[in-house]
Each structure stands twice: as structure tokens, then as C-alpha cells.
Amino acid sequence: MAGAKSKMTLTEREEKDLKKFTTFFSLKTIQVIVQSRSGGKVETKSKIHSDGVDWFNVAIPDNLSIKSQVRKLLAQDVPNLNQPITIDITLETSEGDKMVLESWNLSFSDVKDPLAKVHYAVYSRMGLILKSIFCVTRAIPAYKIAKRQTFSDYKVLSSIYIGEGKGKLSSLGQDFQTMQIGVVPTPVGTLTLSVAYRTNLAMSVQQLNTSDRSPIQVSDDHFSKSPQRQLAAAALPKLPSVAQSESSTIDGSQEMWSSLLSSSPSTTNSQSNGLVGPSNKPKDHKLPPSKLPPASSSTGAITSEATLSSSPISIRKHLGAFASEPTLPEQLDIDLVPEDTPFESLLQAANKTKQESVSLEGKEIQPSGVDQLDAPGSDSQVSDKSSSSQTSDMEDFVMVDLHPAFAKSDSSADLANFYLSFQSAPELELFKDQPTLGEVLEKHIPEQLELYEKNVQEFDELVESLRVDDDSS
């Protein structure tokens, strides 16, 4: 109770106390939330005289295992500007399926309130928020789930870590709700506690699928060397600062992350998938040189690729199995081997020819396994093929000779033509016997005029009736 009773004017002392209050407030917040999800019931006695452990004038039982695990986390000066404390409550079934139920976030912003008195206003406000947490934890859906966990074949886990949990909001299902529980303005900044919670409690297909995966999750672009990938890794919750309340499932949140990343649809359409975010870089996405953005136009995942490929010197960034070493632009001999042939390195060895790097056209090597296209060195439009938004457009799609596997080269034209005939819908019969402009002028228009002329009486009556109505009103 040192905070409440002492009335210090020393700012240094106040600062020290404020730091202490913040730390204990974080600790008590975690205690209340995690305990509420343990399935037990809380009951504490009111005391006329407070003990040292009773912070903020609210009797909150101290769970020692939570305390010891969180202490290390709170030893770092958190929450601070960029490092909020996040508490995720996750449901795990006996089969290993996981579902994030709610995500609590204690953040700190630099909106200062110089008038807030540390020893009464701030302290009592923190107490008020702790009471609110007691009420809210019992009022949102995860409480009932947690309460029944002892009878059912699932458990509710809490993971506490430093860092933004916002990226995980998508793991809360479609219609999750968010709520701001309370705000504590202090002379050095504002503490905000909010919660996002799931309202749709049915296990979704995605979650069931991801749980079947192997524990080691490797997303499609895992080996990409682009900086975005590293950024994405940095955005993941930091493992060393993860504290777990229940049985040790430190990898819980991490696994959820990786499954989220890897459960995104295949890379070709990941661009249009909002769930994945910019960190998931499409591997074979290419832009035609004419549509490339300027080097510094955006920060998206494509930027690095685009800027690289728009420069005269193209460096291959993706090396698939059996792919050759990156070739440098001085090796510009045009050869007969199409650049996108699967297993090209094998062919290269046999033919002893050099690989064309096609750098001037701003193209990149396709990963093996992609439909092969015979790209004449100058036809840059070929690379449009992989940008999914344009494939439906006949104008943008230029069909070049297609080499079906194991087929003779001269028969490919048939297949290509066959393919082309189905590229667009057949013309409707309706439009086949459209009258020409001459016919319309000579025949249809005079006919219509004649008809109107015949009914002129009727039209006049109509106009008259409208006018009369207008007058009367």
C-alpha cells in the first residue's frame, strides 16, 4: 500500500512508483484473466486493512505458477510503446485441434496526461479496471467454455507474450468482437486494455485441417531469401518471452502462427487472399515490364521482386531443385533450350549450352513444374500468364506454341488451337443475325416512326392527363 498512502511531491519518486504500479497492474491483469480461464472459482475476502500483496485495493489471489512465469516477462520494461503485452486464450481438444478464443492486449501509448495524479487517480483507476476485468471475463463466451473444461475432452490454455497480437485477429474467426475495457491516463503515457473475442465457437474447417499437419510447418516460401520473409519471422511472437500458464505448450502460439501462414492457399492466388498479408510472398508471381511499378512505389511483397526484375540485370532469387546456378547477364547467347523447361540443368548438361538469363525482358526463371512456355526472347507478354487477374482476358493472353510433354514438336499446334478455341465462350446465336446499320436505317426506324404516328392520340392523352393532375395538386 506504499503507493496509496504516501503523498510524494518528488517527481522522481512518483516516476518510480508509477513504474511499479504499471508492473503490478500488468501482473494482476494477467492473474485475473488467466485465473478466470482455469475453470475454477474465485473467492477472496474483503479486508479492513490491506496487506502488502493486495494491490489496487482489490483482493486478487496470487497464483504462484503464473507469477513466477510472468515475472521474467515483466522484468523487461513492458508494456512500452511498441511492445504491448498480449494474452491469448486458446482452446485445445484432445485431438490436438486448436482455436484461439480471445486475445487480450495491454498496450501503452504516448498520449500523456500531466494532470493525472499518480497516487490517487492512476492507482484507483487501475483498481477500477481490474474490477472490470473480473466482470468482463465472466461475461464473454470463453468463460463458459473454460468452466466446462474439467468435464470435457478439451482444455483451455493461456499464452502470454510481448508483442502485437493484432495479426492474429484473423484466427478469431469471422465475426469476432473487440472491446476496450479501460484506459489509464498517466503523466508518462496511456495504458489501454482491450480484448478481441470469438463469437463463432464452431471449429472451422481450416482449423481442423491445419491440425492434421506435421508439427514442423514449412510454408511454400520458406526458403525464399527475400527480406519480407525475415520480417515476417520477426513479427512472430518472440519465443524466449513466451510464458505459459497451463501445461507447457510454449510452442502453442508459434505453431498457430506457422499453421496460419502455411494454410494459406497455394502461392498463385495468395495475392488476392487478404488473410495472409504481405509477408506471404507469391513465388511465381511475375509482372510484365510495362506494368512494373517504379522502384520505390510500394512496400508490398512484390516490390522487391519488381524492382529487381525491372533493372537490366536480373538476379534469380528462387532456385528450385535441379535449377542451375544464377547466370549473369554477360551470358546472353540465345540458345535453343526454352528457359522455363523443367529440369533445365539436366538438359543443359546434355546440350552443353548456356542458359539464357532473359534479363533484358525483365523475366525470371520459373520454378520447375510450371507449365512450360516457349518464350521467344522478345515476347515479354508471355510472362502475363502467371498473373491470375489477366488470364481471362483474351487480349492479354497470347498463346504461343505449346510443347506437350512427350509429344513431337509439330503436333503442338493442334493442341494449341484446340486450347484456343475454348479460351473464350462461343458466340451466341442471338448476335449472329443482327441487322446491319443500313438495314436499321432503311427498315426498322421508319416502321417504328409509323407506329408512333398511329398512336399519337394516345400519347397526347397521356401528356394531357399529367398536366391536369399537376394543376389540380
Binding site: 474483503s46 486493512h49 465472466r138 479501460g182
Partner: protein, 221 residues
């Protein structure tokens, strides 16, 4: 002074009335209660600790948290029992039972003798209750859960209102403690509050009561 006011309206079964009112009023009082003050010299004081207790309802699918204070709970229950009586009394003459119960927080302003102290409300919570009777046990079961959800929403509303930066009386000096806080409970110290209730049957003219209240207030001065 304008007191801020919040009104909730709920439709419940007769046996749910008590728990519904208690759950909401206890949630409000939990936020509006501090530990006991112990004054030291120079205006400094120590504050006691408020205990918490989780309470499960029998007739509603709800668990709420309240202050662990028997005296406060007893006080509240007494008022709610009175409200229930009033509701029941309307049973004979009207088909639909309804009424309202208010929880009002106020400050006292001392007046010179012989005038009585003035009460200045600063926050009023009103609960309008309509009593219905469900046809069968199955409906009752469904409504038990539904009402639980509704009450949870109301509790979230209360929490949101509590954390707005609105006026709350300041902690006073020792001589003025009783003008802000209710010191009658031995273990906790809620802000001064009073509970009033009335049945507002469909025939009850609100103008009449307003005029009567106005007269009463004028005479009290």
C-alpha cells in the same frame, strides 16, 4: 447538477427478477465500492481491500462477480425483495406485471440547522422490468440461456460506462467522509447509494407521480 442516467429494460420471468436485479446492481456496486478508509495525519489515508466472489445464478445462465460483503449483499437483497413484492401486488388487477427499480448514487450537502442535508445524485441506474410467464419448461430452458446472454451484454455496457472518464466524487477529508461514502458496512465502503422502486402498471400515470415527487421535494426543502 445533472446526474448521468442509464436505463436498461428487461423481460423476465417472475422467479428470475431477483437474480436479474442483483446481478446488474452488484456489478455496478462492485465498481462503485472501495476498501474502508483509515485516515492518518495530514489528510493521508489507507484504503482497505475489496474481496471478490463469483456468484452463479439458479434461474438464469449467468455468473457474475460481486463484492465479498455480506452486509452489502443483505442490504441489496432487502431492497430487491421489496421490489418483488411490489411487482407481485400488481398481479391481481393487471395482466402484465411491470415496474422499475433504480440505483442512485448521491452526495450529501450539509445544510445549516434546521434544514436537512441535501442529496445530490450523480449517477442513476434504472432497470425496467417486465414480467412474463412462459408456457412450458422447454421455453423456460431456452429463455434461461437467452437471458444470460442479454445480461452479459448489459454487464459489458456497465463496464464500458464505468470506464468513461466521468465525474466521480473525490475522496473527501475525514469529517466529510459520510457525505460521499456509505460507511455502514463494516468491511467495504461503497459510494452513498439508495434504491427506489415502483410498479408502473399500464394505467399508472407518470405525470401524477412526477407532480407528487415535485411537491414532496419542495416540501422537503
Amino acid at each position: 447538477m445533472n446526474a448521468r442516467s442509464q436505463v436498461f429494460e428487461l423481460t423476465v420471468e417472475s422467479k428470475q427478477v431477483e437474480e436479474v436485479v442483483l446481478s446488474l446492481f452488484h456489478t455496478i456496486l462492485f465498481h462503485r465500492t472501495t476498501g474502508k478508509f483509515h485516515y492518518k495525519q495530514e489528510g493521508a489515508f489507507l484504503i482497505g481491500t475489496v474481496g471478490v466472489v463469483e456468484t452463479d445464478c439458479d434461474f438464469v445462465d449467468l455468473t457474475y462477480v460481486r463484492c465479498n460483503s455480506t452486509s452489502l449483499d443483505t442490504k441489496l437483497r432487502r431492497e430487491v425483495a421489496g421490489f418483488k413484492e411490489v411487482l407481485r401486488s400488481t398481479d391481481a388487477n393487471a395482466g402484465l406485471q411491470c415496474g422499475q427499480i433504480s440505483l442512485e448514487f448521491y452526495q450529501k450537502k450539509k445544510n445549516r440547522w434546521p434544514f436537512p442535508d441535501e442529496s445530490i445524485p450523480w449517477e442513476v441506474w434504472t432497470l425496467k422490468v417486465n414480467v412474463i410467464s412462459l408456457a412450458n419448461e422447454q421455453e423456460r430452458q431456452v429463455y434461461r440461456e437467452k437471458l444470460g446472454e442479454i445480461l452479459n451484454e448489459k454487464i459489458i455496457c456497465i463496464v464500458e460506462a464505468m470506464n468513461r472518464h466521468d465525474f466521480i466524487p473525490k475522496a473527501p477529508n475525514q469529517p466529510l467522509l459520510e457525505t460521499v461514502f456509505d460507511t455502514s458496512c463494516p468491511d467495504v465502503q461503497p459510494f452513498l447509494f439508495k434504491i427506489s422502486y415502483q410498479n408502473s402498471g399500464p394505467t399508472n400515470a407518470s405525470v401524477g407521480t412526477a407532480v407528487r415527487k415535485l411537491l414532496r421535494d419542495t416540501l422537503a426543502l
